[in-house]
Symmetry: C2
Subunit: 323 residues, 2 copies
């Protein structure tokens, strides 16, 4: 779908656009006609105070419940706009136009929205599905490589937990994907959206199957915090460690693990955390201290099939160190 | 139900209490054992900044999604606690103990929560049902008369839109109700909760029937803003004007209107706005200017049966002035 189709989906309704400075500069001319609320670019905008400023502006614009809020941007804008739409006047209709690969395959899909509160990521938010999400591949071109890799890591995750055929296509298309080849991207994005939408459709509130989407993320979040690497790099390292644990458990054959590590490497993603794993384990321990030295993790039965298990932290530490 | 039963409903779960200074001073000894977050008493606490402070405290307490948030207080605490529970970590289980008559018959029932943003009331919030609501009549004793009357106005509203038999009992019990007679109160509160819960159960998202609960409130909100009277007084005046419009429309017989005015008066509630109605009409016009000089209002077919109609503002003005 194209950004331009947003106008049809809004229809005769009033709309207000929430976007950031970068996205407005790059694509503002293509936005549908509507009042605009432009926030600063970057993670710093994902704060309760920014939500407060957007609420105030909506009140000044005398926005009522019939108005559609259209978020146009990356993960930060989608999360912020979705949260404001879920909470302004107890809920406005919401549409999202995702402009980064990560937003197209992950942040904009599934209805999770929210803001950070100081160092606490996504502390405040809701789960509420937008009326529509537009993933326009033309919007991806100006992205830095690190951001593309964030998206690719999530696409690999979707393949690993749910779609062996997609994994094979990703193996064939690694180079074109990194070069943002439109055809390879279209397949990867469409497949990812399909997989995530299906999982969320069966378990919106994350009581069961949706937890599979945390594959690579339990460790990934700790690695991101402790090592300060990008989200995509952290998730890649987290997935490799989860793969290693799956092999040690006797679930995943070693050749499959090698294929996974090979694909991540060819996508330019790191697969091992530098330095000692002790700090990462300590971060996990602090996070989960009420669970008594064990961790819920998503492991692979095979490529395309995941399962949640409870593991002792010591096993996780060994997998982070070795492999 | 009694406040003490909250402990059973929390069960083995961790809980955190949100309450205000007054309620904690009065009833803190009866609270179930749990960490407490105490906010200032009064409408001033119903702000996004207070929600932010509660989020921060919950993060410091390392509250996770298995923890129940227990709001103990009047409308402000119930609205604030419900909103925080709906948005912290995308949703905590929530229980409410309503300590004012208004909260017991209105604010705590139906899942609407939220905070004000400067002069905009309830601008930010969600609709989300709490796991349980406890209405303990013993908690009502220390209330000022004006607050009792706020609750009584909502009880009369429930009778008028849905329960003619309750209306007759209210007529018989006006004096005992004002004196907070336990038996009269128990009947009025139980009936109100039953009526509101049933309406909300059939139309949680306010697409149809739930709008009936706005009886007296369209005008009431404008009167409250313009005249600075209490919410209960404003709703009473708003209901009397809606009754007058119902009579003019030929729906409600004059004797029924007299009975309604008589009951409101015996409950110590005002039935006419002082001064000229022009300012009230102007406030309505500003609020609803996109609707082209017409107003959606809830009128009465008879005592116990309401209906939404669209009326020209001029007719509303006449009813506010005359009657």
């Amino acid at each position: 779908m194209r950004l331009e189709q947003a106008a049809q989906l809004i229809g005769a309704r009033q709309a207000v656009i929430v976007s950031d400075e970068n996205v407005t500069r790059l694509f503002g001319e293509r936005f549908p006609p509507a009042a605009r609320i432009v926030v600063e670019a970057g993670e710093g905008a994902k704060r309760l105070e920014t939500a407060g400023a957007v609420y105030r502006r909506l009140a000044e614009l005398e926005v009522d419940r019939a108005t559609l809020l259209l978020g146009i941007g990356g993960g930060v804008v989608c999360d912020l706009a979705g949260f404001v739409a879920a909470t302004y006047l107890r809920g406005l209709p919401c549409g999202l136009v995702a402009t980064t690969l990560l937003a197209q395959v992950d942040a904009a899909i599934g209805g999770k929205n929210g803001v950070n509160l100081e160092r606490f990521k996504n502390l405040v938010g809701t789960i509420r599905q937008p009326e529509f999400v537009i993933c326009d591949l033309d919007l991806l071109q100006p992205l830095p490589l690190a951001e593309v890799q964030c998206g690719l890591a999530e696409i690999v995750k979707h393949a690993l937990i749910a779609d062996a055929a997609l994994f094979e296509r990703l193996e064939r298309n690694a180079a074109p994907l990194l070069a943002l080849d439109p055809q390879a991207l279209a397949d990867a994005v469409t497949s990812s959206v399909r997989i995530k939408t299906a999982v969320v459709g069966r378990d919106e509130q994350e009581r069961g199957e949706r937890r599979m989407l945390n594959f690579g993320h339990t460790l990934g979040h700790a690695i991101e915090r402790v090592r300060g690497v990008s989200h995509g790099a952290a998730v890649s390292i987290g997935m490799r460690a989860a793969v290693e644990l799956s092999v040690r458990k006797g679930w995943l054959p070693a050749p499959a693990a090698e294929r996974i590590e090979g694909l991540l490497t060819r996508l330019g993603l790191p697969v091992r955390a530098e330095g000692e794993p002790a700090a990462i384990i300590e971060a996990l321990r602090r996070d989960k201290k009420r669970e008594g030295g064990r961790l819920h993790m998503v492991l692979l039965r095979r490529i395309g099939l995941a399962e949640v298990v409870s593991l002792p932290l010591a096993e996780v530490e060994a997998a982070l160190a070795g492999g």
